[in-house]
């Protein structure tokens, strides 16, 4: 069936949701199986409109829940199609069981997660609780800091995920509302250029290959399960990172936009640094520049690839920094934050003398103010000057009531 191409301007003013929907359209997906939820709704809504306006050739399947949405994606991916969907928060929580099925079955599916808090109390605004919820699910996870990146990372995610050495599903995260509903200029690719970058889908072990009948979704028990999970982890640890580097490089050649697994900003001679994700990275960069004007050597590390966690790259970026703050936008539930733990793990057993402190911020969409970051950089500088962490290792930013500090 023929479908229409869309003429785009070089720069379109799109919010993160529309950017993701446009990227999905340009990738010529075979099956999108989806159940909408705020704030990701406009992604599937926009994609469905492209479908009804004849800009999409593939199937759009409306289902009864997020669990069914991902189940539909799994079936379509096992059958041998290019597949994607989108969700947020409670929807992702319902989807989690099937996330593990997708990664264990080694099916390349792209999932746009528009990050939102998890109830209770009910909240539709942005934090990273849902991203953290599925961090051990065996999916590759990218993180976008802006609508532009939400667009670009979709193409990159398909190309990495569908590679036959990788064959692991991939998540593209973007901040609920702060990215998903914020319109900014997005540099676009022409439909043909975008599709050629991702390339035609190459099936592997697909159920529609009638000459080679296969069974998907087998049961293994103790005699085989461990070997399959070990293989999956090995491929995640050894094959994904080089492929991501290769695809980032190809993408830069095509668009001039350079991505890195760990995005370093003014880190070369920095004394103090903030490590964070999402839109906070960009706000922190702006504040770091302002702090430099005041004579404080501030830098920012943004995590572009959350899984597989770039241990070596994070270690290299931070090993000579005097004081570092890990900013986790998720309720830690009785532990240090994820970033605090992973960063500590990256530099434990090394010669690094980095001082690390963790901060919980922005839950349920609470605004991260530039003034918060100014205070934070000053606190880090005080740690650096003293040669030790002067506060407790876990603090909260921007919460009302008596100061909270632990560990």
């Amino acid at each position: 069936m023929a479908f229409d191409k869309m003429e785009l301007r070089d720069i379109e003013v799109w919010d993160g949701n529309h950017a993701a929907a446009q990227a999905m359209r340009q990738c010529q997906i075979d099956v999108v199986s989806a159940y909408p939820i705020t704030p990701s709704t406009p992604i599937v809504e926009g994609y469905a409109k492209f479908k009804s306006d004849n800009y999409v050739e593939g199937e759009f399947v409306m289902v009864e829940s997020e669990h069914a949405a991902m189940s539909g994606c799994i079936g379509a991916a096992a059958a041998g199609g290019r597949v994607a969907t989108a969700t947020s928060s409670q929807g992702l929580a319902l989807m989690v069981e099937t996330l593990y099925q997708a990664s264990g079955m080694r099916l390349p599916i792209v999932l746009n997660i528009v990050n939102r808090a998890l109830a209770a109390p009910l909240n539709v605004n942005g934090d990273h609780s849902d991203m953290y919820l599925c961090r051990d699910s065996g999916w590759i996870q990218f993180d976008a800091f802006s609508p532009q990146e939400a667009y670009d990372l979709n193409f990159i995610a398909f190309k990495v995920s569908e590679d036959h050495d990788v064959r692991l599903p991939a998540i593209v995260n973007q901040d609920g509302f702060i990215t998903s509903h914020t319109a900014q200029g997005v540099y676009t690719m022409a439909d043909d250029d975008a599709y050629n970058f991702v390339g035609e889908y190459k099936p592997m072990n697909d159920m529609l290959d009638f000459e080679n009948p296969v069974t998907h979704g087998v049961q293994t028990e103790e005699d085989w399960h461990f070997e399959h999970k070990a293989r999956q982890h090995n491929d995640m640890m050894t094959k994904v990172s080089p492929k991501i580097e290769e695809v980032f490089s190809d993408f830069e050649k095509l668009t001039g936009r350079k991505y890195n697994q760990v995005e370093c900003y003014d880190m070369d001679d920095a004394d103090v640094a903030v490590v964070c994700m999402g839109t906070s990275v960009e706000t922190a960069r702006e504040v770091a520049t302002e702090m430099r004007a005041k004579g404080l050597k501030a830098g920012v590390v943004g995590l572009r690839v959350v899984r597989p966690f770039p241990f070596a790259e994070i270690g290299n970026a931070l090993k000579d920094i005097k004081a570092v703050a890990a900013l986790d936008r998720s309720a830690p539930g009785g532990a240090a934050g994820m970033l605090f733990n992973e960063i500590a793990g990256s530099l434990f057993n090394t010669d690094s003398k980095m001082l690390l402190s963790g901060y919980i911020y922005g839950l349920g969409g609470r605004d991260l103010l530039k003034s918060h970051l100014v205070d934070l950089f000053n606190e880090l500088q005080a740690n650096a000057d003293a040669g030790k962490v002067l506060t407790q290792q876990q603090q909260f930013i921007g919460v009302r009531g008596p100061k909270l500090a632990y560990l």
Partner: protein, 185 residues
């Protein structure tokens, strides 16, 4: 950096207005941001939308803003909410109301001493578009007060932004923009 805060009710088109303005400004080579605060609010609930405009890439994602312009597109919100919050000495207010500027300031003393402009976007929208969607008239008034672009260029650009709507509605919006441009004071 130019920063704008919109005060609106959900359904009055503040988000569309903010995105439309961002779209037009983007075509002139500037960097833009348009976003809103509404959570799970229902139609009719008070909400705010925002624009940022700059010559360089906008990296600040703070929701906090000390606006250069405040647009109020619902007449009651100037009275029932604090539209001067986080305002600066130089902040300009463009407010939709059937009252004169002096009458409005008498009811809302917080506007005393501020640079306040008024017009009746609701009536303009009702008489031109046929519905109380006061977003495009507000942009016409903004063109007059800010002098940002020539009104003909702005109307041309808005025709492209609104191109998905029926031509009759697009034409009515152009009349509304021009009327607001002429009537704001």
């Amino acid at each position: 950096m130019l920063e704008i805060r919109w005060h609106s009710r959900a359904g009055q088109g503040a988000v569309t207005g903010a995105k439309g303005l961002a779209d037009v400004i983007s075509t002139t080579g500037k960097h833009v941001q348009a976003f809103a605060f509404y959570g799970s609010a229902k139609r009719g609930a008070a909400m705010t939308a925002y624009n940022r405009v700059d010559d360089k890439v906008i990296m600040n994602h703070e929701k906090y803003m000390e606006p250069d312009f405040v647009f109020v597109i619902d007449p009651a919100l100037a009275i029932t909410t604090d539209i001067t919050i986080n305002g600066k000495d130089t902040t300009k207010y463009i407010i939709t109301t059937h009252l004169s500027t002096e009458e409005l300031i008498k009811i809302q003393p917080k506007l005393e001493g501020k640079e306040v402009y008024t017009l009746d976007c609701i009536t303009i929208a009702n008489e031109t578009i046929g519905r109380a969607i006061p977003n495009t008239p507000m942009l016409g008034a903004f063109m007059k007060i800010s002098g940002m672009y020539d009104i003909e260029f702005f109307k041309e650009s808005m025709q492209r932004v609104l191109a998905k709507l029926p031509q009759k509605i697009v034409d009515a919006n152009m009349v509304a923009i021009q009327r607001a441009y002429d009537e704001v004071k």
